[in-house]
Structure formats: C-alpha cells, structure tokens
C-alpha cells in the first residue's frame, strides 16, 4: 500500500469519526454503571432494565411504532401511485406542477408543515367534526404527507429503470393491464417498495417537530418523551433508549439498502 492510499484512508477515518463517534459514545455510556452521564464507573445493563419498567416511555414507544407502521403502509401506496403517474403517464397536463408539489414536502421547513397541518385539523374539526381531537390519526396523516414524497422518489427511480417491453410482453401474451401490474410490475419494483416502507417507517419514528404540532394530550410519541425528559436533565435511561432506536434504525436502513442492491436493474437483458 503506498502513501497516497494511507492519506486517503486517514481522511476517510476522520470523516467517519466525526459522524459516528457521538453515536458510539452514547451507546458506550448506555452501559455505564454511574448515574452521571459523563463519568464511567463500570459496565452494567441496569439502565436497560430500568427502561423496561418505565411505563410512560414504553407507551410512547408503542404509539410511535404504531404510527410509523400505519404511516409507512399508506405512504407506500400513495407514493407508488404518484410515481406511476409520473413515470408511466407521459406528459399529462400539469405534470411539472404535480412533480413540484409532490417533492415540496422534502424541502419544506418542518415548522411550517406542522403549523399548517395543525391549522387544517383544527378547522376541519370545527367544520366537519373530523378528526375528533388530535392524536394517533392526526400524527399519522401528518407523517404520511412527507413520507409519501420519499417513497415516490425511491419508487420512481426504480420504475424508470424498468424495461417497458417487459410489461408490453405481458400484455402481448394476453394479460390485461391490472394483471400486468400485479404479476410483472409489482414484483419487479418490490425492492423499492420495501425500501420505501422502511424509509417512511424510520422518518416517522424520528419525527419530533411535526408531531409536536399535531399531537394532542395523551398522545405523546417517543421523540417527544425523550425531548421533554432531556430538558429535565439527561438520565442514562435515555442513553439506553437511544441505543435501541439506533439499532432499529440501522437494521431498517441496512435492509432497505440491501433490497435495492440485490437486483440492480430489472432490465430485460
């Protein structure tokens, strides 16, 4: 290995260190015996055990998971429909506008998204009586609005890579359009759907700002609990919780990445 190589690896190492040392420290300190977050006094899993006894945290975690899963399912369906419209329906009227509106939530400041949704929900409740109060439903709807944009981007790139003649061949062999979609298109874009689902799930699990706006009393998500308890002083329990979240998110991201890599391009050769 020559000197140039060494330099390259050093910089790579420094880059990764900058990104991941904080996370690693957090995981290390979650196994700390001491109550003081900054002083290491020995290995222990007592904070994990204590976490298991914390009903408020567990409730919040369960709510977050339910919201994330529901959100991901809806986001995948809507995002896929949007991607189909963009890739498969040529130059329909208003395509550019549709595309811009679809991707806008990706760059929209969360505070604005949250505030506008809150206003919407309040107005709707006053005029049509739905949604009844704020909680699970409103948070989920809010999360779907931005998650589906991410799903649409992922599915869209997969769809546009797909060889059109595969669907034409299926149609030529006697399959009607719906049948073609179910037995050819869907299986071929399935990896993108899976990675879109996982992406939507993680995004929802992480979200604090938008949730804070549209949540009601009694519907506190995990990030909200963490945030409020940290303001009172960091408990090592939060380190343990954060480590678990990091684990779940990493696994999801790795699966999403692998599923996109397995069949690089569904080209018809």
């Amino acid at each position: 290995m020559n000197r140039g190589r060494w330099k390259l690896y050093t910089f790579l190492g420094l880059g990764f260190a900058f990104l991941y040392i904080p996370v690693l420290l957090l995981i290390v300190y979650s196994f700390n015996e001491s109550r003081l977050v900054t002083v290491w006094s020995g290995f222990s899993i007592k904070w994990y055990l204590e976490l298991m006894q914390n009903q408020q945290l567990l409730d919040a975690a369960w709510l977050s998971v339910r919201i994330a899963a529901t959100n991901a399912c809806f986001a995948v369906v809507l995002g896929t429909l949007a991607a189909n419209a963009l890739v498969r329906h040529g130059k329909f009227r208003g395509r550019t506008v549709f595309q811009l509106l679809l991707t806008a939530p990706l760059v929209m400041p969360e505070v604005i998204t949250g505030l506008s949704l809150l206003l919407l929900f309040v107005t709707m409740e006053q005029t049509i009586g739905w949604p009844d109060g704020r909680g699970f439903t409103t948070i989920t709807i809010a999360h779907i609005t931005f998650s589906m944009a991410y799903v649409a981007v992922v599915v869209r790139s997969r769809l546009s890579q797909m060889d059109r003649s595969l669907e034409e061949a299926a149609m030529d062999l006697g399959a009607r359009p719906l049948r073609v979609y179910m037995s050819i298109t869907l299986p071929l874009i399935a990896p993108a759907l899976l990675s879109g689902w996982l992406l939507a799930f993680t995004l929802s699990l992480d979200d604090l700002v938008i949730s804070t706006f549209v949540a009601g009393p009694g519907s506190t998500t995990l990030p909200m609990v963490v945030y409020s308890s940290v303001r009172m002083g960091v408990s090592p329990q939060i380190n343990a919780l954060a480590s678990i979240v990091v684990l779940i998110v990493s696994v999801a991201v790795i699966i999403a990445g692998l599923s996109l890599r397995q069949r690089p391009a569904a080209k018809g050769h």
Partner: protein, 377 residues
C-alpha cells in the same frame, strides 16, 4: 409465373388469394413526426415476411401496430379478415418477440413460457404439456428451472421464442430476432428460425436492419425508408431488379452511374453518363429521351474484359486502387475517371497469391446489357 406450383408458393402472385394480414393506408404520427406514412401492405398465410430498413424508418412502429402496442393515427389493420385496429394487444391472436427478449427476470424459463397460457386460463395439466412441448421444440428442456439472468444470449433467444410460440399464435411478430446474438450464432439461428417457421406453418413478420438476414430468411421483403414502403418483392427481385436508387444502394454493393437517356434501340436504352460513353441497358420501361436516369450494376456482374475496344458495349478501363480480400471473393475498386470508382467482385478461384490482378494495374471491365437496371428515382 404461370406454373401452378409456383403460384401456391407465391400467393402474392394470385389475384384471388386473400391476404392474412392487411395493412390499409396506415399512418402513425408521433406529435408532428410521421413514423409511418400511409403504408398499405398485404401479407399472406405462411409467409416469412421482413420489414427492412435503417433505424428510424418506421419498421418497428409498423410491427408494434400489428401487435396492438401502438394505435394507428389513421388507417385500418385486418388480421385473418377481422378488423383489429381497435383491439388491445391482449385480445389479438398475435404474439411478438421483443428485441430485448423481454423475459420476465423474476420467473424461471418454465414460468415465462407458461405465462401466456395462464392468461388464457388453460387447465394446469394441459399447460404443463404445452410448456414441455415448447421447451422440447426449442431444445431448452434442461434449462426450465433457470432464471433469465442465468442464460446465455442464444438460450435467452430460445426461451423468448418458446414463450411467444406457446399460445400457438397464427401470426408471430419478431423485432430484430437475431440482433442480440453474435455473428456465428446468428447464422445458425437464421436457418433454425426458417425451419421452425416452415415446420409450424405460422406466418412470421420480422423487422430487421440487416439486409443479409432479410435475404436469407424471407419469402418477401418490404424495404422501408422515412416511414414509407419503397418496394415489396422476393429477395431475388429486390436484389436483381430494385426499383429505387435507395433500394439498390441499401441492399448489397452497387455501382451507380448517373446520366440521361440518349437513344432508344428496340428494348434497349442508351444512357449518356459521366464515363464519357453510352451505356447499353435493357429496359422494359419506355423512357423519353433526355430523362435523367441512374444505371445500377452489381459488382459481381462485372467481368474482366479480354478484348477491349474504344467503342465496345459496356466496357470501361481503369486502374486498380483498392483490393478488399474477403476469402471467397475479392472486391476491386477501380478508378475509371478522376471522380469515379467502380467496384468489381471476382471469385477467388486461384489462391490470392497467384492472382494476376494487383494494385496500380490497368484493367478493362465489361458487363452485359441485361445484368443491371435503369432507375429513375
């Protein structure tokens, strides 16, 4: 063409024969571009018909309209007497093999072949039989459990063919069927495809840009350019008696001499050309004197002239400038005037090293008045 046996082999000669596929004044416009421009064409049962042309000439669009994947802007398409213009692809009695083969990557060879049969709700047992029959026909039985990405190019082509034939279509459309194969494989696949077609008696319509492929396989060829069909004929007629300059030039090598009709003697026209002498050509069309024409002569119709005379019929003299040795034949490019090269093909009867004709040598060539054509367009 009065021989009755010939007539059955050449249904297009028979005015009473009903065409199997009738394309009636079909035009296809994409935005403002005419991809196919007022094409009419009859294809008969059992034909191996080729649409030949360079890329972008509209041949693929025409094929896709037969498959039902594109809808004509105007005009009608009839298959077996029925108007199918408005039928979607999935209800047509037609199957198509795609240039990319379009094998479903998430299914095995067997499942690919079975796909079309499943759409017809064929019972499981019958389906299995048909799949077996098709895999046997194309000799890919041992590959039945493989996925398309585990197959070689030739095997993929067979799998795709098995899939399109599985539904026993009456008309098979093939888009550049051999385009993705390497040269050696392509030659054997050509013969195989023709044998298969003759054995099954299915009407084949192929699209190709490879003139050699079209010549070897087809009963008839339609030469297309810029969305229009220029000439529809048997390979022999297309090659020997092209009707257009484009056709003559597109298929095989050809020497083209531009000139004007100077004189008419019985069935011959005498054409004044830039060669500085009049060319004598047999011509069935009566041309008015002064008409601008092009004389087209294939390089293999030229011979070395033993007795060159200044006033000899169709004799020219020049200096060998280039020799392309192809093994069986050699192509000699002979400079006959400062701006004119003439190509002559000679069979290498003697080994190359013993041949008399070499670079810089003067050579006289001649051809018979019946071995070329006079073109006006």
């Amino acid at each position: 063409m009065t021989n009755p046996e010939r007539r059955t082999l050449e249904p297009w000669q028979d005015p009473k024969a009903a065409p199997y596929v009738r394309i009636d004044h079909v035009t296809k416009k994409f935005d403002d571009v005419y991809a196919v421009d007022d094409v009419s064409l009859d294809i008969f049962q059992g034909e191996f018909f080729s649409l030949l042309g360079s890329s972008g000439c509209g041949k693929s669009t025409l094929l896709r309209m037969l498959a039902g994947l594109e809808r004509p802007t105007t005009g009608r398409i009839y298959i077996d007497g029925a108007d199918v213009t408005d039928l979607p692809a999935y209800s047509r009695p037609v199957n198509m093999m795609f240039q990319s083969y379009a094998l479903f990557p998430h299914m095995t060879v067997e499942q690919n072949v079975e796909f079309g049969l499943k759409q017809d709700r064929m019972p499981r047992k019958e389906r299995a039989e048909r799949v077996g029959e098709m895999l046997g026909l194309l000799q890919i039985g041992e590959l039945r459990k493989r996925k398309p990405d585990q197959l070689s190019g030739g095997q993929r082509q067979r799998a795709a063919l098995a899939r399109t034939l599985a539904k026993h279509p009456k008309l098979l459309l093939l888009d550049e069927p051999l385009g993705a194969l390497d040269k050696r494989l392509r030659e054997s696949a050509q013969f195989e495809l023709v044998n298969l077609q003759e054995r099954l008696g299915i009407t084949f319509v192929t699209v190709t840009h490879d003139q050699e492929e079209a010549m070897t396989m087809s009963t008839r060829i339609a030469v297309m350019n810029a969305g229009q069909i220029l000439q529809v004929d048997t390979p022999t007629t297309i090659y020997e008696y092209p009707e257009y300059r484009f056709v003559a030039d597109f298929i095989g090598l050809v020497n083209l001499f531009d000139g004007r009709v100077a004189e008419i003697q019985d069935d011959r026209v005498l054409v004044e050309t830039q060669l500085g002498r009049r060319l004598h050509m047999r011509c069935s069309h009566p041309h008015a004197i002064g008409t601008p024409v092009t004389v087209a002569i294939r390089p293999e119709k030229l011979q070395i002239c033993q007795t060159y005379r200044e006033d000899g019929v169709n004799q020219v003299k020049g200096v060998v400038e280039d020799i392309a040795y192809l093994g069986d034949v050699s192509i000699y490019r002979v400079r006959v005037s400062p701006e004119l090269l003439v190509e002559m093909t000679l069979t290498n009867i003697q080994p190359r090293t013993e041949q008399a004709l070499t670079w810089g040598q003067e050579v006289a060539m001649e051809w018979s008045p019946t071995s070329g054509v006079v073109l006006t367009e």
